[in-house]
Each structure stands twice: as structure tokens, then as C-alpha cells.
């Protein structure tokens, strides 16, 4: 993902403010959940709180060195990457991108983090 410049972001935010009220009623395309199984927490709870949980997990892992945390980003990707393109991004059906495009949220996580499952997960498929 190419980072948008600051100016671009400001314009984007303004643009979204103008456009969103009109588009907000379109239905979200069905999401490709990926691997299946059981989410790390209640899906409804995750939908509302995943941002906070991820940021908290991030600080715990990076700064304190806590590994194997429940809300690991790599973990989400392992599970939620589509079986079609092996990614959480790419199309508006892909898990993280689909919902965020719908909700007009922009995240930079995947500038650094891989949007593909880790090799170990991939080979298990």
C-alpha cells in the first residue's frame, strides 16, 4: 500500500465527510472470513473492540516482550486471510480491507505487517 501524503489524507478525510452520509446506506459486501474456526473472542465484541485490543496487544508484545498474546495481529491474519488470494487485503471481500473500505477507515498496519499468513500456517492448509 502506498502511503498517502499528509495533504492527501486531509483531503481524504474532508472528502469522506462529504461523501459518507450519502453512501452509508449501501450494504457491506459479505466478508471472506478466511480459515473459519472460532474467533479469538466473541465476533460482535471483536467488531467493536478489535482496534483497541490490537493496539494494546501491540504495546504488550513490542515493549514488554509478551509473546503468544491472544490478540496477535499475525494471528488475525493467519486465520482471516482469504483462501482465494491468501490475504486479508486485495479486494473488497477480503477481511480487513472489505469492512474498512465500507466503514471508510484507513489503517497503515500492512505497510509493515504481512497481509499473508505466516509460512507455518500456510503449509498446514
Amino acid at each position: 500500500m502506498k502511503p498517502l501524503c499528509l495533504l492527501g489524507r486531509i483531503l481524504l478525510v474532508i472528502g469522506c465527510c462529504l461523501v459518507l452520509p450519502a453512501g452509508a446506506h449501501d450494504a457491506m459486501p459479505p466478508l471472506d472470513i478466511g480459515q473459519g474456526g472460532k474467533c479469538v473472542d466473541d465476533p460482535g465484541f471483536m467488531r467493536l473492540n478489535h482496534m483497541k485490543l490490537l493496539l494494546q496487544q501491540r504495546d504488550e508484545t513490542v515493549r514488554l516482550g509478551v509473546r503468544g498474546g491472544r490478540y496477535s495481529l499475525a494471528g488475525c491474519v493467519d486465520c482471516h486471510a482469504s483462501k482465494v488470494n491468501h490475504s486479508v487485503l486485495g479486494t473488497d471481500r477480503n477481511f480487513c480491507q472489505g469492512c474498512h473500505t465500507y466503514a471508510a477507515v484507513k489503517i497503515d498496519c500492512f505497510e509493515c505487517h504481512s497481509s499473508h499468513p505466516r509460512p507455518a500456517m500456510e503449509s498446514r492448509r
Partner: protein
């Protein structure tokens, strides 16, 4: 107060400058956008020269932002009417320069989108974080000071506000000097002379900018400067240029005295190529000797030659900062004393750096932002120095 109206040609010049600066500022923004989307590869900066031309521009403006306030301080703290008449312009220039400098510094960040992080999480041991507080403080205190100058009901506060600004800008420039003075690892920087040197530089550069801005404004309104005031200001500039020279000499002489610093001094003063040329030619001849001659030689010292001197002082400032910032990083870190080192990562080798077009555009764009703010400010607030003739003669 008499209303002063601009001449027709003055108006044309005003809008000409306005458009020109707006254009440069836009080019600067474009450059920043390129740097953010393609990365810093498109600059000349690399893993050895990590701070380059944008930082030369930014630090020049931030240091001058503090020095330009000197004119205001002398007016309000020491009660000199001649300077007091100039305080509003000085305050405006200070805010504009600080904004311009910070714009460059911010847009050069690898992640300008995260400035909010810098504003919300502080690392208390970081000089950089202190500086963020100092910059904010300067905006607030200068803003307050300007308010007391413009609003008659606040006049009683002018003196305390002036004192606050006076103290604050000293601390701020000390802080800027400390950004470098705390870098123990590098030969060029770990020196206690740096904070006073930065203060002296701020006084000289700030006054040079003030003189140029003042003469442009007077030309715009077709006014002339009282000769007495002119003489006082030009002598002040001369003294400041001398002070900088003295501290630059002190810095290099103390360095040359320590055997371990000698190779570094040889690099700057003799073997550094562009760095050496900029030091002697740019700072020494053009930025110091020539301005002093223009100011003090009998027969010179006219408004025109002092204007040229002020321009040259600014040119010298850029040369000196380039030598200090880029030259200081070009000289290789001495990690293995007693050994000659080489590697694929520039160990033991003089760093390579050629500023690229986007860096120039960003730096010049920052200056343009400062000019734009000044142009708008003088128009909106009518910040022209107005001298009552008797005041001009009063002191000395």
C-alpha cells in the same frame, strides 16, 4: 498615528512577492509529497548523512526566529523607544520564521502523518522533546506579547510579556544548541561552546532578516529610515557578526587543541572539499569579512550596502550551518581508535552527500511559508515600524 498608504508600485511588488512565495510554498509541498510517497531515496540523504539540507533550512529559521526577537526585547525589557516601535514586526517575523522552520522539519520526517505522536508522547530525557515544548512556548509567549502591543487595554502587560519572551528565546536557542551539544558520539558536536554559539548566531541572523524585512516594508510604503536609527541598527549587526566570529573561532581552536579532535579539524579546515570551501569562502569571506567591510568601511554603511551586508550574513549562515550539520556527519565516526577501518557501510570513509532538488524545494518552500505569513501579517495588522523623529535622536 498617521495612516501610511502604499504606493502603487509598492502594491504591485507586494502582490508579486505574494504570488511568488505562494508558488514556492506549493512547490515545497509537492516536494514533501514526493518524499513521503517515494521515500527519502529521492533525497541526497542516506544512512551516514541523516540530516541534510532541509535541516540546514529548518535550523536556520528556528535559530533566527529567536534572534529576531532581540529587537523587541531591547524595546520592551530595556525600554528603548526606537526598538519598541519595531517590536510588532519583530514578533511577527519570529512567529513566521518558527512556523516556516517547523514546517520543513515536520515535512522531512519519515512519518509526517505521525506528528500527533510527537505531540502526545514525550520522552522526558530527549532534547528534541524539550524543544517541542520550547517551540510551543515561544508561539504562545510571542503571541501574547503581540497582543499586549496591539491592544491598548493590555499595555500594562507589555513589559512582563517582553521579559517572558526575552527569557524564553534564550532558553529556546540554548535548547537548539543542545540538540547537537548532547551528541557525545560525534566529534563535531559534543561541545559546551555550542549553546552560546547558537545564541550569537541567532542574534546576527535574526537582525539581518529583520533589516531586510524592514527595508522591504519601508520601500513598499515609500518611507525612509531615520539615519540615526539606521546607524544604530547597522552597528549592532556588525557587533553580532563579530561575536559569532569570536565563538566560531573559540569552537575550532578548542577543538584543534585536543589531539583527538585534530583530524576532524583538518577535515573541516583543509581537506573537506565542499565543506572546506563553504567554511572559508562562504562563511569566512562572504558571510563575515565582506559584511563587516560593508558596514564599517568609511564611505560605506549606507542603507544599500547594509542591505547587501545583511544578505551576505544570511548566505554565510547557510554556509556555516551546512559545514556544521553536513560536515559534522560526513566525518566518519571514530569507533576503533588506532585502526584504519573500512566496510560497505561507510566505516572510516567520508560521507557522500549531494542535496537533491526535492530537498532544495522543501527548504525554500519553508522560507516561502515564513514570507507568506509575514506578508499577510503586515497587511492585516499594519505592523510597520513608525518612528517619532525625536525618539530616533533621543538615545545613544
Amino acid at each position: 498615528m498617521t495612516a501610511v498608504t502604499a504606493t502603487r508600485s509598492g502594491e504591485r511588488a507586494y502582490y508579486g512577492w505574494f504570488l511568488f512565495c505562494a508558488l514556492l510554498a506549493l512547490v515545497g509541498l509537492w516536494a514533501a509529497h514526493q518524499m513521503e510517497s517515494q521515500g527519502h531515496v529521492i533525497t541526497g540523504m542516506n544512512n551516514q548523512i541523516v540530516w541534510g539540507l532541509p535541516h540546514v533550512f529548518a535550523i536556520f529559521m528556528i535559530v533566527s526566529a529567536s534572534g529576531v526577537l532581540n529587537v523587541a526585547s531591547v524595546g520592551s525589557v530595556f525600554g528603548r523607544a526606537v526598538y519598541k516601535a519595531r517590536a510588532p514586526l519583530a514578533g511577527l517575523l519570529s512567529l513566521a520564521l518558527l512556523a516556516g522552520g517547523l514546517t520543513v522539519l515536520m515535512l522531512d520526517l519519515g512519518r509526517p502523518d505521525r506528528v500527533i505522536v510527537a505531540a502526545t508522547v514525550y520522552n522526558a530525557t530527549s532534547v528534541f522533546a524539550w524543544n517541542v515544548l520550547l517551540y510551543t512556548g515561544l508561539f504562545v509567549s510571542v503571541g501574547f506579547y503581540l497582543w499586549t502591543l496591539m491592544d491598548r487595554t493590555m499595555a500594562a502587560w507589555t513589559q512582563p510579556a517582553g521579559l517572558l519572551v526575552f527569557v524564553w528565546r534564550f532558553v529556546l536557542t540554548t535548547g537548539t544548541g543542545l540538540i547537537f551539544a548532547f551528541l557525545v558520539a560525534r566529534q563535531a558536536y559534543a561541545s559546551a561552546v555550542l549553546p552560546p554559539m547558537f545564541i550569537a548566531m541567532s542574534l546576527a541572523w535574526g537582525l539581518a532578516i529583520f533589516l531586510l524585512a524592514q527595508s522591504a516594508l519601508l520601500r513598499w510604503k515609500a518611507m525612509a529610515l531615520h539615519p540615526g536609527i539606521h546607524r544604530r541598527l547597522k552597528n549592532l549587526l556588525g557587533i553580532f557578526v563579530f561575536t559569532v566570529l569570536y565563538l566560531v573561532l573559540a569552537y575550532h581552536l578548542t577543538n584543534a587543541y585536543f589531539a583527538r579532535q585534530m583530524p576532524f579539524e583538518r577535515f573541516v579546515l583543509r581537506d573537506g572539499g565542499v565543506i572546506t570551501a563553504l567554511f572559508w569562502g562562504g562563511y569566512g569571506v562572504l558571510g563575515t569579512v565582506l559584511p563587516l567591510l560593508l558596514i564599517f568601511l568609511p564611505g560605506l554603511g549606507t542603507p544599500r550596502s547594509v542591505g547587501a551586508a545583511a544578505l551576505l550574513v544570511i548566505l554565510g549562515a547557510f554556509s556555516l550551518l551546512y559545514v556544521f550539520i553536513v560536515g559534522g556527519q560526513s566525518y566518519p565516526l571514530q569507533i576503533f581508535p588506532g585502526y584504519v577501518a573500512h566496510s560497505t557501510f561507510g566505516d572510516g570513509a567520508v560521507g557522500e552527500y549531494v542535496p537533491s532538488l526535492p530537498e532544495w524545494a522543501l527548504g525554500v518552500g519553508g522560507v516561502a511559508v515564513a514570507c507568506l505569513m509575514t506578508l499577510v501579517g503586515v497587511r492585516v495588522f499594519n505592523f510597520l515600524p513608525r518612528d517619532v523623529p525625536e525618539q530616533a535622536v533621543e538615545s545613544n
